[in-house]
């Protein structure tokens, strides 16, 4: 079988090498200009929204050239090179057992405050002798639920595809962890003064400068392919079409939760590998749009409605007072 390159996109595709990173830098302190800008956008966007993009924005399909990864679960051999590379590149704390230690597979692990990614082992129903390994990390959703949940806008979906988190903004409510359908964000509960969310950043600094995520680079089995998301979908379709015996006909992450940048193809149904399969195919934020849309209605209609109730009450009271006075006068006459 033809060797699948680790990177689908040639380096020249990466145009935003020197472009400024939005939201990432300069958020350390409170900046008055940013505040005014945000306030103006919040307040003014409804009034001065661009006419030309008005209808297009309703059908936003995400940043067009965003990157992603395709994990081919039929190829993973469970060597944990990806975990090791991730740990080194992202300067994470060294684990208690070495990355060669296979005993970690005895239990199912998840990304933690000390590990962006972990590999778990599953029984292969087709072939008992060769277990299936599943790598877990942030899937970098097209419309991330974590970002929809955050009340302080600490999350950013970058145009490169990575979903980034800014600990300088976070106050630690952990609603992002509640909202994430993939159980990805972890919290370092151990820290008293600077606790923060920890999760995979898709090696943002590397992909911005033309590199590929450390895990994809380190994988000796060619399990992870990095590239533009749209190209990865084509690649996945091609693989499934060419070797239908090897794969089930499902690209996990193409549609789940509105689509993710990190996608998977597998030889066995995804629910057998603990992938959540009961999440909607539309972005999670869609669930709250109806509610949030009703908020301005309440703000405008309620004062009128209850103001009127109060006016009616006052009216009744005045009428009664008048009646009392009139009847008193009648008695006097």
């Amino acid at each position: 079988m033809a060797k699948i390159p680790k990177r689908l996109a040639p380096k020249k595709y990466i145009e935003n090498k020197d472009s400024e990173t939005p939201e990432r830098e300069g958020t350390k302190g409170f900046n008055r200009r940013d505040f005014l800008k945000t306030a103006a956008v919040v307040g003014g966007s409804a009034l001065i929204g661009s006419y030309a993009t008005a209808s297009a924005s309703k059908d936003l399909s995400g940043w067009p050239d965003r990157y992603g990864c395709l994990t081919d679960l039929t190829k993973c051999v469970g060597c944990r090179s990806c975990e090791k590379a991730c740990n080194e590149v992202n300067n994470l704390p060294k684990p208690e057992t070495s990355f060669d230690d296979g005993s970690v597979f005895k239990e199912k692990r998840r990304p933690t405050a000390k590990a962006y990614t972990v590999v778990n082992r599953y029984k292969n129903p087709k072939d008992e002798g060769t277990p299936i390994y599943r790598k877990v990390q942030c899937n970098h959703c097209n419309e991330p639920a974590c970002a929809s949940a955050c009340p302080i806008h600490a999350y950013t979906k970058t145009k490169e595809g990575a979903v980034l988190y800014d600990p300088e903004k976070c106050f630690g409510c952990r609603y992002c962890m509640i909202a994430c359908p993939f159980y990805v964000p972890a919290y370092d509960y151990e820290s008293a003064l600077e606790p923060k969310i920890v999760k995979c950043v898709m090696c943002y600094d590397r992909i911005k400068t033309g590199g590929i995520p450390a895990c994809a680079e380190a994988c000796p089995a060619g399990t992870i392919t990095f590239g533009k998301r749209k190209d990865l979908i084509k690649l996945a379709r091609k693989k499934i079409a060419e070797t239908p015996d090897r794969y089930i006909d499902h690209i996990y992450g193409e549609h789940e939760a509105g689509g993710t940048s990190w996608m998977y193809i597998s030889g066995v149904p995804f629910e057998q590998l603990d992938f959540p399969t009961n999440i909607p195919n539309r972005p999670i934020i869609e669930e709250t749009k109806g509610f949030l849309g009703a908020v301005p209605v309440v703000f405008t209609v309620w004062p009128a409605l209850f103001g009127m109730c109060y006016a009616a009450l006052r009216h009744r009271e005045t009428m009664e007072e008048d009646k009392d006075q009139n009847s008193k006068k009648g008695v006097e006459k």
């Binding site: 949940a149 952990r174 509960y189 709250t288 309620w302």
Partner: protein, 411 residues
Amino acid sequence: MNHNGTLSKDDFRSWFMDKLLMGMSWPEYAGKLLTPFNIVAAIILSIGIPVIAVRFIYGLATATHASNEYPWGITLGWGLFAGVPLSATGFIMGTAYYIFGFKKFKPLVRLGILTGFLGYLFAVIYLLTDIGRPWRIYYPMIIGFGTASVLFLVAWHVATYLTVQFLEFSEAILEWIKSRRVYKWATMMVIGMTIAGIILSTLHQSALGAMFLLTPGKLHPLWFSSYIPHLFLSSSIYAALAMVIVVSTLAARFLRSAAGHTFLESLDSLTVGLGKGACVGIYVYFALKLVALAHDNNWYLLNTPYGKWFLLEMLGFVLLPALVLTYGVKKYSAGIVRFGAFYAVAGIIVNRINVSVIAFNWNLPDHLHHIIPPWQEVSIVMTLATIHILIFRWILNRMPVIREEPGYEGH
């Protein structure tokens, strides 16, 4: 007595101590503090306050499960999700009295507002204990605007509404310290504040439910419903009415000396009146629950273990208290209505704990084992609840809440 502005330092001091000690001397006051309730409270606090201190010095890991799958536990389930609907009392009593003109409920309006104000204050305190960096609590107001987030809305509304309720309650504080001028200002604001309270309450009561709209798949489908904002709002209305009954019952029973004549004499008939309102509210909620169930066509789930638990909540903790309330109202028995109200409040707590703790992550392996809170978290919750009661009692004993201040009657 003191508004001529030429008070000497000693006069002020004795006036101040008089207010604090309710006219008693120090030894008299200290002697009165030795009651069984206070001893139990002291034991709870002596365990819980060190636990809270440890939580802040060594991090959340010392006080919670520190789980990445279960970021929220009983602290928020009880303190925020159950605490806020039970604090809708201020908005419900304020609306009934000032906007709809249910004038006979006047003896209970301030009690409702105080219950609401303290309830929200403590919801925020529970939140501050649970979030990772509480000193950044104001960040949603200044640092970053997550305008697409339901929690952003909750944060703004709870903060604003806390202020609104403080202003609403300020009448009582001003009467207590006998300030005439500011008092006039405060009474003038009341209608505006009440309407602001209605807006903010409808929105954040429902928003607490809407927060779980982001958890399809994680929250059990019997509780996850597109109706959840409506369910939370509608249940908060009868929760508030039942809660006023509960609080007034406890106040009349245990703080009789702080209660006025009007309050004690009218309480039975007002209780039945509130019970009537709670009846309407609880049946509306029950109907909405059925509509939500039918809308999602989830009947087939009723015959599962979670389905049975759901049925127990629906029948045992909504329908049954509704029937008790109905019976009490029919019989015109304040006693039965009171029992129904305590029961209905328990039902609200069961529902909110179900949504935020029991039915959340229901499909994770070993789920029911994971939701048992560690003793430290239980002790934190008990400590905060105890402080809540102590402050409530402190205010009721001093300020004109369930009695009228001489010279201010008829306002």
